[in-house]
Amino acid sequence: MKITTARRISQVFFFALFIWLCAVTTVGEKFWQLRGWPVNFFLNLDPLNVIATILSTHKLYAPLLWSLITIILTILFGRFFCGLVCPFGALHQLVSHLAHGKNNSGLIALHKYSKAQSIKYYILFVILIMAVLGRYSSLQSGLLDPIPLFTRTINLLILPIIGDSAKILTSGRFYQISLLTLSVFLIFVLLNFYKPRFFCIFICPLGALFGIINRFSILRINRNLSTCTDCKLCNSHCQGSCEPAETLKLSECVLCFNCLDDCKFDAIDYNTADSQTSQVAPDLSRRGILAAAFTGLLALPAFRLSGISTRDNNLVRPPGAIPEKEFIKRCLKCGQCMKLCPTNVIQPAGLESGLENLWTPVMNNRVGTSGCQLDCVACGYICPTSAIKPLTLAEKLGKGDFSGNGPVKIGTAYVDRSKCLTWAFGTPCLVCQENCPVSPKAIFAKPALVLAKQDSQPQIDTELLQPYVDAKLCIGCGICQHECPVGSKGAIIVTPDGQSRENRLYL
C-alpha cells in the first residue's frame, strides 16, 4: 500500500470519527446518543488547549493530559496530527484537491513556500500572550484553534442543518449568530481555492505549535542529494508548502507524504538521516515576535472594550458556570454544551458582548424548547475544561448535603410591567406563575389595585391577578420567560442578578 493511501485512510477515519462524536453529543442512551462515547476526544488531544489553559489558569485539567500523547508523538515524528488526524485539515485537503486537481501544470508554483507562512506563529504568540496576562488574562485560542473551531461549526451549524432537513429531531435545533459561524467556516474553506490548505499554512495556531515542537523530531522527510535529479516534482502536491525540492522547512511539513509518492527516483525518504537540506526552525524575526507581543497586549483590552460591561457580568451563563473572570480563562468556545443541552437554551454569545465572549455559552430563554430544566445538569459534565462545573442534581437543587447552600441560581427574573399583559392591559394571564418549577413558587400573584375612575379610591380587583417575583426563591431557570406569551424578549426577563457564581450582593 502506498504511504499516501494509508494517510488518506487515516484522515477519512479521523474525519468520520470526529463527525460521529459530534453527532452523538445528545442526551440519551441509544448507541447514537451520548452514552459513554468519548465526545471530547479531539478536544482532549489538542495540545493548544492544554498549554493555553495552563497559561491562563495555572492548572492542568486531567482529561487534557491526553494531549501529552500528541505532544510526544509530534516530538518524535513531526506534525503527524496535521497530516493524519486533524479533521479540519482533512477537509481543507479535500477542498484543495477538488479546487486545483491533481495534474495541473501550475501545481509547483501553487505550493511554493511563502514567508507569510510565519503569520500563524505570530497568531499563536498573540493568543498565548493574551492567556498569560495573569488576572487580566483571557483564553482566546478557541477562536482559531481548528479543533474547537471545527467542533462548534459542526455542532452549531452543519448538524442542525442536516438534522432539520432530515426531520430527525422532534423540534429543530437553533443557534444564534449562525451567519457568523458560517462566514468564518466558509471563508477558511474557500481560501483553499487561493492556496491549498490556506488555513493550515497561514492561520492555524495549533499547526504553529506543532511547528515549534517538531524541531527535534527523530524521523523527518529527507531528500537524498545524490539520487535527486532536481526535477522538483516533489513540490507539486506538498500540503505544507514546505518545498522538499529546495531547503525543506521542517516546521511547515505536515507529513502528507505526497513528496514520497511524487518522487520518481526514490530520492525522498522519511527517515533519521542527517537533514542537511532542511531548515529546522520557522522563519521568525525578532521584530515579528515583538510585534506579536505588543499586538497581544493591545488585543486583549481591545477585545474587551467592545464588551466592557460584560466584565461586570451582563451575561446569563449556564448553571454551574464558574465566576466570570475564571470562566473566560477556561472556555474553549467549542460549543459542546450548546450541542448537548436537551432544551437548546444554551446559545453562543454574539459580538454584542465583545469579541472576548464570542461563541461562549449564554442562556437565551426565548430560543429552544424550555428554559433550563430543573432536573438537568448535562452541560457541566461535557465541558472539557470545567468552565461549567459538573454539578450533581442535589447540588443544583440545593438538596441533601447541599441544603445549606440553597439551589444554584442562574439569575433572577424580572416582570416587565410595561409589557406584562396583566399590568399593561389588565387582562388575566399568569402563565409565568403556572410554569415556575420551584416549590414554593418564586412567582406569586396578588389581586390588582385598580382605579375605577379618576379621583376614586383604588380598589382591589380580585378577578385580575398580577405576577410578582420573589427574588430569594427565583433560580433564574427562564422557564417563565420561555412561556411568556408576550413577543420579542417576553414580559418576564431573566438577568444575571443574584447568580450563585459571583457570590456577592446584587440587589
Binding site: T343, T369, Q373, V431, E434, P437, A445, L465, I479, P485
Partner: protein
C-alpha cells in the same frame, strides 16, 4: 462580405429566437399574473367540527369512582364498573392515550400522569384487542426530556405503546366551527388522524389561573404555537377544547392530588393523598367530582359551568349515579 455584417440567414435566425423568447416571457407573465391583490389576513382554513371518538352511552354506566391507593388495581376496577375496556375498545382499534406529560419532573411529584397508570391502561387496551396504542402530548418543557423524566417513555416501552413526540409537521392549522379562539391555530392533529379511540388521562392539580387543572384542562396539550396567549381567556379555551374533542373515555387519577404550587408542584409536600380513581364517559362530570377533592364546588370553576351550558356534560355528577367500589391494597 465584411466581418462586421451578419448574413441575412443569421439575421433571420436571430430575429426568430428573439421573437420566441419575447413571446415566451409575455405568455409566462400572462399565466402568472394575479389580478386579485393578496389578502392581508388569510381566510380561515381547515374548518373542522368536533372530533368525536365517543362510544354509545349505557344507562347507569357513565362514571365510576374507586377508592384505593394502588393505581393499577383502582383503574382496572373503575373501568370494569363501566363495563370493562371491551365496551370502549373493539378488537383492531387504534387507541391514542393523551396523558399529562407537561413537565420534565419525576413521577413522585405527581405533576404528570403516573407511568404505572399509563402502563395499566395500555395493558387493558391490548387485552380488549386494540391493534396499537399510541401516547402523545405536546408538553410545556422539552418534549423528549418530559417523556423520559416522567418515566412514561420507559413505561410505554414495557407495555408496547408507541410514543409520538410532537414534531412540527404533526401540527395542522385548524379552525373549529363555532369557536372564537381556535381559529387558524396549530393543533396536534397527526396523532389523532390515525386512531379511532382516544382516552384522556389526567391528575387533579391546583392551578392558579384556571383554579383547578384536571381532565378538561389536559387537552391544552393538543395546542401548538404560542398557546400561552389563551391564558387570557382560559375558561373559554378549555371549553373550546372540549368542543373540539370528544374522548372515548377519561381517567382522572386522584390517588394523590396537588393542593398547592400547581400545576408544577415540585415537592411531595404539595400533594395530598386522596386515594381515588375516576373513570367516566363524561369529562365534565369527572372534573366536577375531582373539584370536590380540592375542596371546590363545580360552580367555582367557570369552565365547568360553561361546558354544561353548551351540553358538553353535566356538573351534577351525582345525577349520573356514580358506581362506587373500594380496592384494598
Amino acid at each position: 462580405m465584411t466581418n462586421d455584417k451578419i448574413s441575412r440567414r443569421d439575421f433571420f435566425i436571430r430575429c426568430t429566437k428573439a421573437g420566441l423568447s419575447t413571446a415566451a416571457a409575455a405568455v409566462l407573465a400572462g399565466i402568472l399574473y394575479e389580478s386579485d391583490p393578496a389578502k392581508i389576513s388569510p381566510q380561515s382554513s381547515n374548518i373542522v367540527e368536533a372530533m368525536n371518538f365517543s362510544v354509545l352511552p349505557v344507562a347507569g354506566k357513565a362514571i365510576s369512582i374507586v377508592t384505593g391507593s394502588n393505581r393499577q388495581s383502582t383503574v382496572t376496577k373503575a373501568v370494569e364498573l363501566l363495563g370493562g375496556m371491551q365496551r370502549f375498545i373493539k378488537p383492531g382499534d387504534n387507541v391514542l392515550l393523551k396523558p399529562n406529560v407537561g413537565f420534565s419532573l419525576p413521577p413522585r411529584v405527581c405533576a404528570t400522569s403516573h407511568p404505572e397508570l399509563i402502563e395499566q391502561i395500555t395493558k387493558l387496551c391490548y387485552q380488549a384487542g386494540a391493534k396499537k396504542v399510541y401516547i402523545t402530548d405536546n408538553p410545556i418543557n422539552d418534549p423528549k426530556s418530559c417523556f423520559e423524566l416522567t418515566q412514561i417513555a420507559s413505561a410505554a416501552k414495557k407495555c408496547g405503546a408507541e410514543i409520538i413526540l410532537p414534531r412540527q409537521d404533526h401540527f395542522k392549522q385548524v379552525t373549529l366551527k363555532g369557536a372564537e379562539l381556535i381559529k387558524n391555530w396549530p393543533i396536534l392533529y397527526e396523532p389523532l388522524k390515525n386512531v379511532n379511540k382516544v382516552i384522556g388521562i389526567a391528575g387533579v392539580k391546583d392551578h392558579r389561573r384556571s383554579i383547578a387543572s384536571m381532565l378538561m384542562k389536559n387537552w391544552y396539550g393538543l395546542l401548538g404555537g404560542n398557546r400561552s396567549i389563551f391564558h387570557q381567556d382560559i375558561d373559554k379555551i378549555i371549553v373550546e377544547l372540549a368542543m373540539l374533542i370528544k374522548p372515548t373515555l377519561v381517567i382522572l387519577d386522584a390517588t394523590q392530588v396537588m393542593v398547592s404550587n400547581g400545576p408544577t408542584g415540585g415537592s411531595e409536600s404539595d400533594l395530598k393523598q386522596t386515594d381515588t380513581m375516576i373513570a367516566s364517559c363524561d369529562q365534565v362530570a369527572a372534573d366536577s367530582f375531582g373539584a370536590t377533592l380540592l375542596g371546590l364546588k363545580s360552580n367555582d370553576l367557570p369552565y365547568l359551568v360553561k361546558a354544561e351550558k353548551l351540553g358538553l356534560g353535566t356538573t351534577d355528577y351525582q345525577s349520573l349515579k356514580p358506581l362506587r367500589a373500594e380496592v384494598k391494597a
